[in-house]
């Protein structure tokens, strides 16, 4: 009995004691479906993956993975896709155009603020790494506020994660709009604060570097300076609380900051950035190739900060915009056609502006022996940005011509690309229009006579839908820094410095005759940015910050004489994208037979004329946002 009792008791005791201990630790297990903040912010690789998501949520005005249409507007190009004709058929833009999703934007800012809070509280990272991550988070936040400011002017400037206390009162969460200058001051101050925590590494392209922070600072300060200075051109575009509009007295201060920040990059403080000049030669074709390659070469010393793509993370820009006749993907091509309005902006090599000579002084057509002769002696960026008639891509020549022109001026053509038919009644069947267009209304082939070349990827298979292109989208590059410096110096009255910087950019494009300091004018600055930075998502903001948008896009149709006069003037109006169509002369027995003739043509789908209203300068803030936060004031003129 005694034995049994003691055995049972001991067993029970053992069991209970054992069980107790075991249960406790059994319930206390590490979850294996998510990582705690402590875990994440102790491991540099995990922090980097959080950061990767934050990088990925940056926005751009034009972006390669955001669709070709983001490059298509403002009469700089014609959309050759029937579903997108509305771009050239509308007469203006809604006040809500170019907006961001307000809720996604502030979610993103909240995530950035949370990242900064957690990173600064982390104890498991080395001091240097923690500082770098922290600086990257602040760069992304400042750059995103810059994107918002360009669209909306002042927005609620939230730099801490907000928390709701379930009290039913949201007063503290309703933040009014900051002034526009406070926004720019924030961006500038953030860049100054973080620049030394970021690596000065020219080979780092897709993460924030010292160069990226300074480039952002220079651009932001330049924008702020020009809004302050040129705001006077359109005084109605301002709010009494200065959420929109900057006091003119601040202009010089901002220009000084822009010049200083640009100087830091130019002096090499941020690494050895320089203009991309591959050592291939200096013929016009080589210079044009060099300019096109700067967007393709991912190790280019010109790229400061880019949105990169790689195998598995590709985009369809080349698929959408490659020349039709040798498209990798039959029937998917040719959507983005640069306009004549843009093409004519590229100067002659003697630094003068001239329209393409289609007719002589007495109105007779000019005959060219080769398709490209009309484009000879021009800025190499013309052929570097645009595939011209007779130009080539992936080693093949594009077939762009609109038909035969008979000696009496009549045109023989077809509404079907590559169509065979007799030129004269009873003659043999020959091709009467190029396989790449142009034919009015025939989508996916050029309708202006031009295809885009910038960003177009010559890699084999890059035009296939399944494969896609890995060309990076450059957000900040050295040439823009030089132009920013030139503009800031010009506005501060230092034409010598301005000429020095602008000449560097021009020399790379084959314009080797330097501009004298006295040649630098506001028109020159505007023009140089338009041709150098075409299709980079900057033209629109330039037009806005100089308050030129309502003058350039004034709603009156563009005529041929509008096109041919005032080239290189900032106020030249451009409301409809024109084309330049090549024709082959058919006049057997005459020396002109087989030569090329050109005509300015307004594509027949273009029926609207862009009109930019004063209310378009700053994108509308939605009624839902205004209702949720009564402290937010409406945009002017809406």
């Amino acid at each position: 009995m005694k034995k049994i009792v003691s055995i049972i008791t001991i067993c029970l005791l053992l069991f209970v004691g054992w069980g107790c201990k075991k249960d406790n630790s059994f319930l206390d297990v590490q979850p294996n479906t998510f990582l705690t903040n402590q875990q994440v912010f102790s491991d540099p690789n995990l922090v980097l993956s959080v950061l990767a998501d934050l990088y990925n949520r940056q926005v751009d005005f034009s972006s390669l993975n955001g669709g070709w249409r983001t490059f298509a507007d403002f009469s700089e190009s014609f959309p050759s896709e029937n579903g997108s004709s509305y771009i050239v058929q509308r007469t203006g833009w809604g006040y809500g155009e170019w907006g961001l999703n307000w809720f996604d934007s502030y979610n993103y800012i909240r995530d950035l603020n949370l990242f900064l809070q957690r990173d600064s509280a982390s104890t498991g990272l080395s001091d240097q790494l923690r500082k770098r991550f922290y600086a990257e988070g602040r760069f992304l936040r400042a750059n995103f506020y810059f994107e918002m400011t360009k669209r909306y002017g002042g927005v609620p400037l939230i730099t801490k994660p907000l928390t709701y206390d379930y009290s039913g009162k949201v007063n503290d969460l309703q933040v009014p709009r900051a002034t526009e200058s406070e926004m720019y001051d924030f961006i500038i101050n953030e860049a100054e604060a973080i620049k030394n925590d970021l690596p000065a590494d020219v080979s780092e392209k897709s993460r924030a570097t010292k160069g990226a922070a300074l480039a952002m600072e220079a651009r932001a300060a330049l924008y702020a300076g020009s809004i302050a200075k040129y705001g006077a051109t359109a005084p109605a575009v301002s709010l009494p609380g200065k959420q929109v509009g900057i006091d003119p007295s601040k202009a010089n201060g901002y220009y000084t900051i822009a010049l200083r920040a640009a100087h830091e990059i130019i002096n090499g403080d941020a690494g050895g950035y320089k203009l991309y000049t591959a050592p291939t030669g200096a013929t016009p074709a080589q210079l044009a190739d060099n300019f096109a390659n700067l967007f393709l070469d991912k190790t280019s010393p010109e790229t400061i900060f880019a949105k990169d793509f790689a195998k598995g993370v590709t985009h369809g820009f080349t698929t959408n915009d490659q020349p039709f006749s040798f498209s990798d993907e039959g029937g998917d091509a040719g959507r983005l056609n640069p306009s004549l309005n843009l093409a004519e902006q590229f100067e002659k090599l003697d630094n003068t502006y001239a329209p393409f000579a289609t007719t002589d002084a007495s109105g007779n057509p000019v005959f060219y022996n080769n398709a490209q002769d009309i484009f000879a002696d021009r800025d190499a960026r013309l052929a570097g940005t645009i595939i011209l008639p007779g130009g080539s891509f992936k080693g093949q020549t594009v077939d762009i011509w609109a038909g035969y022109r008979l000696a009496n001026g009549t045109i023989v053509t077809s509404d079907e690309a590559g169509h065979l038919k007799p030129i004269v009644p009873g003659g043999p069947d020959v091709q009467v229009v190029g396989a790449d267009g142009p034919v009015n209304g025939l989508e996916l082939r050029t309708q202006t006579g031009f295809y885009i070349r910038k960003y177009l990827d010559p890699t084999v298979g890059s035009g296939r839908r399944g494969q896609g292109s890995t060309v990076a989208f450059i957000r900040y590059r050295y040439a823009e820094v030089l132009l920013n410096a030139a503009e800031a110096a010009f506005e501060l009255g230092d034409n010598t410095t301005a000429a020095m910087y602008i000449n560097q950019v021009r020399a790379r494009a084959g314009l080797t005759t330097p501009l004298a300091p006295s040649d630098i004018t506001f028109n020159r600055i505007v023009h140089e940015r338009r041709v150098e930075l075409a299709f980079e998502g900057l033209y629109f903001y330039d037009m806005k910050r100089w308050r030129l948008a309502h003058i350039v896009w004034d709603g009156t149709p563009t005529t041929v004489s509008d096109l041919k006069t005032n080239i290189g003037k900032a106020t030249q109006h451009s409301t409809q994208p024109w084309g330049l169509w090549p024709y082959k002369e058919y006049d057997p027995g005459n020396p002109d037979n087989g030569t090329w003739v050109y005509k300015e043509v307004l594509p027949s789908l273009v029926t609207g004329a862009n009109r930019f209203l004063l209310g378009n300068y700053y994108t509308q803030i939605g009624d839902d946002v205004l209702a949720a936060n009564p402290k937010i004031v409406k945009q002017p003129n809406q």
Binding site: A236, T556, L613, L626, N637
Partner: protein
């Protein structure tokens, strides 16, 4: 077949008729009409360019009613609404005129109580008025003479004329965006505002027509919208 008729077609017919009656609200039927006026003279503007906004409180709704509500060329507007209380504003910076503002610079609202069709004219103060516009055509040339009367003359609010324009179109929509011929004169070239003359050659019209529509307009410096004279149909 018979059961198909009985079990499917009749119930469907019945249901669709029944739901028609039951589901739908009666449509709004009260007309609110009017025009922008200055001392009884209507103000002519460009179509689709000068907006007004109607608000109704309650119903948990925020923002204006409808979208893209703009005045007609002759300054008139028209809305079909339900009876009720509304507020109307013209947003800041719109139109070639000044709409009343409250102390903080927001547009002042006009309360409208609708109970049956109603005409509400909106009194505004234009910067300029076009008086005695006379447009005639002879020999394919359209000539217009008019007087530009400066209404707002105090030194703070007054604005200069940027340019005056004569527009000609083949349809009744005549403005900077809709025209086949235009003649501009810069404000600095005007010698006598009481007697401004503009003329323009009418281009050939396809298909041909023996009349055109014409208006003259004044572009006021730093004001987006132009003010126009009443539309005139001119036989050629």
């Amino acid at each position: 077949m018979k059961s198909f008729l009985r079990y499917i077609v009749f119930p469907t017919l019945f249901l669709s008729l029944y739901s028609c009656k039951k589901d739908n609200y009666s449509p709004p039927g009260t007309f609110l009409t009017g025009a922008i006026m200055y001392k009884g003279d209507s103000i002519n503007v460009e179509r689709n360019q000068v907006p007004y906004q109607l608000y109704q409180y309650g119903f948990g709704k925020v923002g204006q009613i409808g979208s893209n509500t703009t005045f007609e060329q002759n300054g008139s507007y028209s809305q079909v609404l339900y009876n009720g209380d509304y507020k109307l504003i013209i947003p800041n910076g719109q139109g070639p005129f000044i709409w009343k503002q409250d102390a903080s610079g927001n547009p002042d609202s006009l309360a409208i109580t609708l109970n049956g069709n109603q005409t509400v004219n909106l009194d505004v103060t234009p910067y300029y008025m076009i008086r005695n516009a006379q447009i005639s055509a002879s020999g394919g040339i359209v000539t217009a003479t008019f007087k530009a009367e400066k209404i707002i003359t105090d030194s703070v609010m007054a604005k200069d004329i940027e340019r005056v324009s004569l527009y000609v179109n083949k349809t009744q929509f005549v403005s900077g965006g809709d025209n086949i011929a235009v003649q501009d004169m810069a404000g600095s070239d005007i010698t006598d505002p009481n007697n401004i003359t503009l003329s323009v050659t009418v281009p050939s019209i396809t298909p041909s027509q023996n009349y055109i529509f014409a208006r003259v307009g004044i572009k006021i410096a730093n004001v987006e919208d132009m003010i126009f004279s009443p539309l005139q149909k001119i036989p050629l």
